[in-house]
């Protein structure tokens, strides 16, 4: 079932088409990656999903019904890219306050806050102020505040920025955990290695338009270039075949690109006669490569334009 459906969403600003006709679905319980270069319209898109902005056109279906910002935001946890907390407020109090604003009663909020503080090793923070925390610590606090109220949909904008590897792993495990317990997670980032590791499904947007949509595996398959790596006991000096070309030569391995009308078997066949094959595997493009390939052609920074409304 789709927890969230976006249909032809549009949001124009005075000088930009921030989001220009974007549609996609998010499966319940999945981890969904929203990718795109800076200024692609990710934040605007997320703000529409969190009910901060209204779309100019199109509609959002949340949990099978038309999105009703007033009530549905209680089921959404949003961690914006720019973290924000009241600096002078005590941490325990602040967590309670923000949880209550998400509709929890004070008693419920207390239970949840205590649970999460204990889980993340933050019990001693209760009476400290946010201004006493380091950047990584406040990041952790922000994450806890986002997920406190057991939201159905958790939206994380760059959740790992500023975290050391230990804490990043801690948060990553929590994200998996939350997904396992039925929460749906949308997360937006530029860090492609994290996306490959975590996400089930991704979309890539650029200049307000969706340019890629699929599971991580499908996307990689779609963008594969028939590049294989073959490990040999010794690499022959002269290699020439109609089926492939060598694009990289190392001491005991070759990277080859197989021509469109040939198959991997042709490569193996060729080397069967010339050398001893130790290993053979396909090299799929990394998301990073795909990202760069898709985005590179366009202007890196968005230009301002005049929109007639």
């Amino acid at each position: 079932m789709h927890l969230l459906e976006l249909r032809n969403l549009q949001k124009y600003y005075a000088t930009q088409k921030a989001v220009d006709d974007i549609s996609f679905n998010v499966e319940e319980g999945s981890i969904f990656g929203l990718l795109g270069p800076n200024g692609a319209g990710k934040t605007t898109l997320l703000r529409m999903i969190t009910g901060i902005f209204y779309p100019d056109q199109g509609e959002i279906i949340f949990n099978g019904r038309k999105f009703d910002a007033l009530n549905d935001i209680l089921y959404i946890g949003y961690m914006p890219e720019e973290r924000g907390l009241y600096k002078k407020m005590k941490i325990g109090e602040q967590a309670l306050y923000l949880a209550q604003l998400k509709g929890l009663s004070r008693a419920d909020a207390m239970v949840k806050v205590k649970y999460w503080f204990q889980r993340m090793g933050m019990e001693s923070w209760w009476n400290k102020k946010v201004e006493d925390l380091s950047k990584g610590m406040s990041q952790k606090l922000q994450f806890v505040i986002t997920v406190l109220h057991d939201p159905k949909l958790i939206i994380l904008d760059e959740p790992f920025s500023g975290l050391d590897p230990v804490n990043a792993n801690l948060i990553k495990d929590e994200i998996f955990n939350l997904a396992q317990n039925g929460s749906t997670i949308i997360f937006s980032t530029h860090r492609m290695e994290q996306v490959e590791e975590i996400c089930d499904h991704i979309i890539l947007i650029n200049q307000g338009k969706k340019i890629l949509d699929g599971t991580v595996n499908n996307v990689k398959q779609e963008f594969k270039e028939n590049i294989f790596n073959i490990q040999l006991s010794d690499v022959p000096d002269n290699i020439s075949s109609a089926a492939f070309e060598v694009i990289k030569r190392q001491e005991n391995s070759l990277t080859v690109k197989i021509h469109n009308d040939s198959r991997s078997n042709d490569v193996l066949q060729y080397f069967l006669h010339h050398s001893t094959i130790v290993g053979f595997n396909e090299i799929l493009p990394s998301l990073n490569d795909i990202f760069i390939r898709l985005v590179d052609g366009t202007k890196a920074t968005r230009q301002f334009q005049t929109i007639e409304q």
Binding site: Y78, M79, G84, K87, M89, L98, Q100, L101
Partner: protein
């Protein structure tokens, strides 16, 4: 509704619990009353005793110049303008002789105001006595009782003509109350308005705004802040009222009858100087106490709270809108604030003119317009409702202020909603105006 209540509670508690709030709330009236008491006490205690040698050429004054707390006279022979100082006198007084009919007072230093006027008064008094006695044959005892009767008659008159006498006091009192409450509203509009603006700016620059508006509507966030800070203001006023009442009761005990008498004496002799403040405060204290009863305190305090509250609400949302539009740079805030602070400053200028003619057309009109009504109307109300301010004017003014509050809040909410999530751009009023008419 529940959420806005949560926001109000946080805004209120986070401010009321601050040390600066507690200190300023308690210290301000203490400081105020303390200053008056201190100045009074100092001016009463700090009167130097002057010892004056008299060279009585005409032989008129021997035994007739009565000393007072400030001055004493001595008629010792052999004192002259050269040696008076070494004999322990601060000054020497020559009475008129054949070749001069002027009194001459010689001293090293400038005589204190009190002493100088005391000497003059004493001489006049004894001259008067002399003339009365020698020409009309009235003896001193008779004279004294006559004087007492005269003084008593004066007092009786004041009490008999209570109506008119109090009326006079009342118009001065109304002037004072009107002035004070108008200025109080003026100052609090700025203090609490700026507090709202800074609160909004804090939320914006801390980026908490985005977290908040993913839980509550921007309007709730804005109103929660405005109401919370308004409640802080009300709390402060209530504490001040209680403190001032109890402190003035305490001050009444400190200004015992004797001290008051002294202060009265002193103030009669002083024309200028800083000590005057304390003295007049002390002497007026008793008068004010008498006349205060004549003012309609329930109406005045009630109206004050209304105009404070709605004047604040009227302007606070505008301050919030400005706060939402500026980024970190406080200078942006200043230029954006100008259109909001101008009407407040203009109102105080209008008030200063209007209070001299509280029923005039300037006063009437400006007390109806919401931009200046909180300040101008508050200056008029102490002059009497419905005497100076007819009921319809008061009602209309309140209604318009309330309507104005709804309009400014509605407009500001639109600016606020856009501004609070807008970063890195310098915003102009023109742009903010556009935001108010943008759909969604």
């Amino acid at each position: 509704m529940n959420k806005i209540w949560l926001i109000i509670k946080r805004e209120y508690l986070s401010r009321v619990r601050k040390k600066t709030f507690i200190l300023s709330t308690i210290l301000t009236p203490l400081l105020f009353v303390g200053l008056i008491v201190a100045v009074t006490v100092i001016s009463v205690k700090n009167v130097d005793k002057e010892k004056i040698a008299v060279v009585d050429n005409g032989g008129y004054f021997k035994g007739q110049l009565e000393g007072s707390k400030a001055v004493s006279f001595e008629f010792k022979p052999g004192v002259d303008s050269v040696n008076y100082k070494s004999k322990g006198y601060t000054a020497i007084l020559y009475t008129p002789s054949e070749n001069s009919n002027r009194y001459r007072l010689i001293s090293q230093k400038q005589m204190g105001m009190i002493a100088a006027s005391n000497v003059e008064k004493t001489i006049n008094r004894s001259l008067e006595d002399n003339v009365l006695r020698s020409k009309y044959n009235i003896d001193l005892k008779q004279l004294d009782s006559l004087r007492k009767n005269a003084a008593k008659a004066e007092l009786d008159q004041a009490i008999k003509e209570k109506g008119s006498a109090i009326q006079k006091g009342n118009s001065e009192l109304a002037y004072g109350i009107g002035y004070a409450s108008a200025f109080l509203i003026y100052i609090t509009l700025f203090i609490y308005g700026t507090m709202v603006m800074r609160g909004v700016m804090e939320e914006k620059t801390n980026r908490i705004a985005e977290v908040m508006v993913s839980s509550v509507k921007p309007f709730q966030l804005m109103m929660g802040k405005i109401i919370g800070i308004g409640a802080v203001g009300l709390t402060q006023f209530l504490i001040w009222i209680v403190l001032i009442i109890s402190l003035s009761a305490a001050a009444g005990a400190i200004f015992s009858q004797e001290t008051l008498q002294q202060a009265q004496d002193a103030s009669q002799q002083i024309q200028t100087g800083s000590a005057m403040m304390g003295n007049t405060a002390a002497t007026q204290f008793s008068q004010i106490k008498e006349t205060l009863g004549s003012a309609n305190w329930f109406l005045i305090i009630g109206c004050f709270l209304f105009y404070f509250l709605f004047g604040y609400l009227f302007y606070a949302s505008l301050f919030a809108a400005v706060g939402s539009a500026v980024n970190e740079d406080p200078q942006d805030a200043q230029s954006l604030l100008l259109p909001i602070t101008m009407p407040i400053i203009i109102s105080i200028v209008i008030m200063i003119n209007a209070i001299t003619n509280p029923a005039g057309s300037l006063a009437t009109w400006s007390s109806l317009i919401p931009f200046c009504s909180p300040i101008v109307m508050m200056a008029r109300i102490p002059f009497g409702v419905p005497g100076t301010v007819p009921y319809w004017q008061l009602g209309l003014s309140m209604l318009l202020l309330f309507g104005g509050f709804v309009v400014t809040t509605w407009l500001s909410a639109k600016i606020y909603r856009v501004g609070i999530l807008m970063y890195g751009k310098k915003v102009t009023w023109k742009e903010m105006w556009k935001w108010t008419f943008r759909k969604n």
